[in-house]
Amino acid sequence: MSAILPPSELIWWKTPIGKEEIIWIVLALTWCMIMFAMMPIWHIYGKQNLSNEAYKTTPVQYEAKVTAMVEQHTIRTQSVGGVNVPVVAPPAGSDVYMLGRLWSWYPMLEFKKGESYRLHLSSLDWQHGFSLQPININLQVVPEYEMVITITPDTSGEFTIVCNEYCGILHHTMLGKIYVTE
C-alpha cells in the first residue's frame, strides 16, 4: 500500500476521509469561493477595472486618428533625440489616442488631475506593453486592435510609459510621457 502501488483495496472510493483533510477541503473551498467572488465584486464596487471596449482596426486607420488629435490639441513640443514630439492636451472627457511603435510612444499627453479621459491604445507594428510608471498600470498593446479605457489621473506630475513587452533590439529605449497638471 503506497502511492507507487495500485491501491490495496479494490474499492477505495468508500474509504473514510481523515478529519484534517475534510476541514482543510472545506476551508480551502470557502477561500476559493471568496477569491472568485472578489473579481465580480470589484467590477461593481472597485475603481480599477479594465473595460471590455475594444475595436478591430488597422495601423493606417489608427494612425489617422492619432494625427487628427495631434493637429487639433498640440500645446507644445518636446525634443527627443533632435525630433520635436508633440505634447497634446485634449479636453477632459474626450477621446485620446496614443500609439506604440518601434520604438516610441506617440504623442506625449497632458491631462488635468481629477478629469476623466477615454484613452485609446494600439500599435502600428509589433506588440508593445503600456507600463505607466511610477503608478504601475500595465496593459498589453496589440496591433490591429484598439483598446479603450477611461482613465482618471488622481495624482499630478510627470509620468513615464515604459514598454514592457519585448519589441526588438531597441525595446529598452522605448519611453513615453504623460504629464498631469493640477
Binding site: T15, K19, D154
Partner: protein, 580 residues
C-alpha cells in the same frame, strides 16, 4: 537476457527497452538544463545593474534561448522519462512500441537542436513567446513543431502502455496514485501540444511566406494554450513525484486515495483554463471569459493544489509518526532525513512552491490585480518559484533516486549532494523574492536596461527608485548562487554516471546519505493488508483526532499567508489611478 531487470534495492521492475528510453530522455533533459543554466548565469549577470554583462542584442538572444531550454526542453524531456517510469516500471509492464518511443525521442532531439541553432544564428531573438507579428526564422518554429510531435508520441506510448498493462493484467484494480498523476500530466500535455500545433504550424507557414498574416491577439490566446499548459503539466508531474518520493523515502501511503485522485481530477478538468492568466491585460476579450478562465472555473484547480499541499506532507507525517516520531507537532519533521537530497529537495520544493509560487500565481492571476503586475519583473519572479523551485528542484531530487536505481551507479560526492538542494533552493528563493519585489516597483521583464541610459541621451529621462536597483542586485546574487547549485547538480549526476561505482548486485544505495530506511515493504504488492481507514490509527499516533496535526498547522499557516497577501494586493491596486 530477461526482458526485465529487477532492481535489487527496491524491487522495482525495469522493462529493458523502457529503461534505455528513460535514461536517454533524462540525459537529454540534463543537457538542456546545462545549456539553460549557463545562459541563466549570463542573463542574471546582465540584469545585475552593477555588472550589466552582455550587450543588448546578445542579451535578448540569450534570454530567448534560456527560456526555451530551461522551461521547455529540460522539463519535457525529463517528464517523458517520468511517464515511462510511471507506466512501465510502476505497472510492471513492457513499454508499448519502443520503436515509436525512440522515434519520438529522435524528433524531440532534432527539434531541440534545430530551435537552438535558429536562436544562436541570431535572427530569432523573439523570446520564448515569439509573439506575432514579430517573426523568427522558419527553423525556429519547425524545431518547436518537431519537438512537440516527438513529445506527443511519448504521450501516446505512455497511454499505450496503460492499455497493455490493463489487458495483460499486470496490476489489479486501479493504477497507482503516482501513475494516475502521470496520466494527468499526460492529458494536459496532449492539450498543450494540440494548442501548440494549432498556432505554431501557421506561424511556420507564415515565416516561409505561405500565409500572409497572423492575427496578434489570436496568436496570444492560442499560444498560451500551449505556453501556460506546458507549465501546468509540470505541476501535475511534480506533484506525482512528490507522492512517489513520500512513498520511496518514508514508505508513506496516501492519506486518502479518494481525495488525492479527486484533486488530480480537478487538475484534468480545470487546470489548463489558467492559460488566461496571460490575456488579462489584453484588449477585446471580455471580463466574463477572463474571470471564468483565469480562476480555473472558481479556483477549483487551486483547491486541488491546496489539497496536494496538505496530503503529501501529511502522508509523510503519518508515516513518521508510525515510526515513533510522535512528540509534539513537529518531531516527525525535525527528525526527517534532511541529509538525504531526495527528501530535502522535495520538501523544499513543497514549501517554496506553496508559499512563493502558488500564492503569487493566484494573486497575479486575479483579473484586476493583474493590472499592477502584467509583464513586470514580478512575472518571472513568480514562475521561477513555481517552475524552478517547484518542478526543477523536484526533478533534481528525483535524480538522486534514479541514479542508483535506474542507472545503477553510486552517487559520487555524497557530502556535496547533501547540500546541493539547499544551495539551489536558497539562491532561487532570493532570486524569486527580489524579482517579485522589483516587479512590484514596476521594473519590466525582458528588458536590457532599466536605467534607460540610451533614452536619457535622447532627452527622455526616467529612473526607478533606488530600492529597485538594490533588488536587481540581489536578483543577480541569487542567480549566481542558484547557478552554482545547479552546476553542482550536474557535476554530481553526470559525474556519478561516468565515474560512480557500478552497482550490479544488491547494494545499500541510500546508506551514503546516512539514511537506511527505504521501506522495502512498500514495493511488494503481494503483502497487501486490508486497511481499516484512517480512523484505525488516530488515537495511537496523532493528536486530538488528527492524523497529521503538524501538517495541518503548516497548511493553516499557508492559508493565513495567502489571505493576508491577497488582500494586501487589492489594497495596492485600490491606490492606482481609477480606470474602467
Amino acid at each position: 537476457m530477461s526482458k526485465y531487470r529487477i532492481c535489487p534495492d527496491t524491487g522495482l521492475y525495469f522493462d529493458r527497452s523502457g529503461e534505455g528510453l528513460m535514461k536517454a530522455n533524462a540525459v537529454a533533459g540534463a543537457v538542456a538544463l546545462l545549456v539553460g543554466g549557463i545562459l541563466a548565469l549570463l542573463v542574471g549577470l546582465t540584469r545585475w545593474p552593477a555588472i550589466h554583462y552582455l550587450g543588448a542584442s546578445d542579451f535578448y538572444m540569450v534570454l530567448t534561448a534560456h527560456g526555451i531550454n530551461a522551461l521547455i526542453f529540460w522539463l519535457i524531456f525529463f517528464e517523458i522519462a517520468i511517464l515511462y517510469f510511471a507506466s512501465s516500471t510502476l505497472l510492471r509492464c513492457r513499454l508499448a512500441t519502443p520503436r515509436w518511443a525512440w522515434a519520438g525521442f529522435a524528433l524531440m532531439l532534432i527539434g531541440a537542436v534545430m530551435t537552438n541553432v535558429a536562436i544562436f544564428q541570431g535572427n530569432s531573438s523573439v523570446m520564448m513567446t515569439s509573439y506575432a507579428p514579430m517573426e523568427a526564422a522558419p527553423h525556429f518554429y519547425l524545431g518547436m513543431i518537431l519537438f512537440a510531435v516527438g513529445a506527443l508520441i511519448g504521450c501516446f506510448v505512455f497511454l499505450g502502455t496503460l492499455v497493455i498493462a490493463k489487458e495483460e493484467k499486470t496490476y489489479h484494480g486501479s493504477i497507482p496514485l503516482v501513475t494516475f498523476g502521470a496520466l494527468t500530466a499526460c492529458i494536459i500535455a496532449v492539450f498543450t501540444i494540440a494548442s501548440g500545433a494549432i498556432i505554431l504550424i501557421p506561424s511556420f507557414l507564415w515565416s516561409v511566406g505561405l500565409i500572409g498574416q497572423i492575427d496578434a491577439l489570436m496568436y496570444r490566446v492560442i499560444w498560451w494554450g500551449m505556453g501556460h499548459s506546458s507549465q501546468q503539466l509540470n505541476v501535475a508531474a511534480q506533484v506525482s513525484v512528490w507522492y512517489a518520493v513520500a512513498a520511496i523515502v518514508f514508505g508513506a501511503k496516501p492519506m486518502s486515495e479518494k481525495v488525492s485522485r479527486t484533486a488530480f481530477l480537478l487538475y484534468i478538468f480545470f487546470l489548463q483554463l489558467a492559460s488566461a492568466h496571460h490575456i488579462l491585460a489584453d484588449p477585446g476579450v471580455s471580463s466574463t471569459w477572463k474571470i471564468f478562465n483565469t480562476s480555473y472555473a472558481m479556483y477549483l484547480a487551486v483547491l486541488a493544489s491546496m489539497i496536494h499541499g496538505l496530503t503529501v506532507p501529511g502522508s509523510m507525517e503519518v508515516a513518521q509518526r508510525k515510526k515513533g516520531f510522535t512528540n509534539g507537532l513537529f518531531e516527525w519533521l525535525r527528525k526527517a532525513p534532511w541529509g538525504n537530497p531526495v527528501f530535502s529537495g522535495i520538501f523544499l520544493s513543497i514549501i517554496t512552491f506553496g508559499f512563493l509560487g502558488g500564492i503569487t500565481g493566484v494573486v497575479m492571476g486575479t483579473e484586476q490585480i493583474n493590472l499592477i503586475i502584467h509583464n513586470t519583473f514580478y512575472v518571472p519572479g513568480h514562475f521561477h518559484a513555481t517552475v524552478v523551485l517547484g518542478t526543477t528542484l523536484t526533478f533534481m531530487a528525483l535524480t538522486y533516486f534514479l541514479i542508483p536505481v535506474l542507472f545503477r551507479r553510486e552517487i559520487i560526492m555524497p557530502g556535496l549532494a547533501k547540500w546541493q538542494p539547499y544551495l539551489f533552493a536558497g539562491g532561487m528563493t532570493i532570486l524569486a523574492i527580489f524579482m517579485m519585489g522589483a516587479g512590484t516597483l514596476g521594473v519590466p521583464r525582458r528588458h536590457w536596461d532599466v536605467g534607460f541610459a540610451q533614452a536619457a541621451e535622447m532627452g527622455l529621462k526616467f529612473e526607478f527608485p533606488g530600492s529597485a536597483e538594490m533588488m536587481l542586485g540581489l536578483v543577480g546574487i541569487g542567480s549566481v548562487i542558484a547557478v552554482i547549485g545547479g552546476a553542482l547538480y550536474l557535476v554530481i549526476t553526470v559525474g556519478s554516471l561516468l565515474f560512480g561505482k557500478k552497482l550490479e548486485e544488491s547494494a545499500g544505495l541510500m546508506q551514503s546519505f546516512g539514511f537506511a530506511t527505504l521501506a522495502p515493504s512498500c514495493y511488494t504488492s503481494e503483502k497487501i493488508e486490508p486497511v481499516k481507514g484512517p480512523a484505525a490509527d488516530l488515537e495511537e499516533h496523532g493528536s486530538a483526532g488528527f492524523e497529521a496535526p503538524g501538517t495541518f498547522i503548516l497548511a493553516m499557516l499557508l492559508l493565513v499567508t495567502f489571505v493576508v497577501y491577497y488582500f494586501i494586493n487589492w489594497k495596492y491596486l485600490s491606490s492606482v489611478w481609477p480606470m474602467g
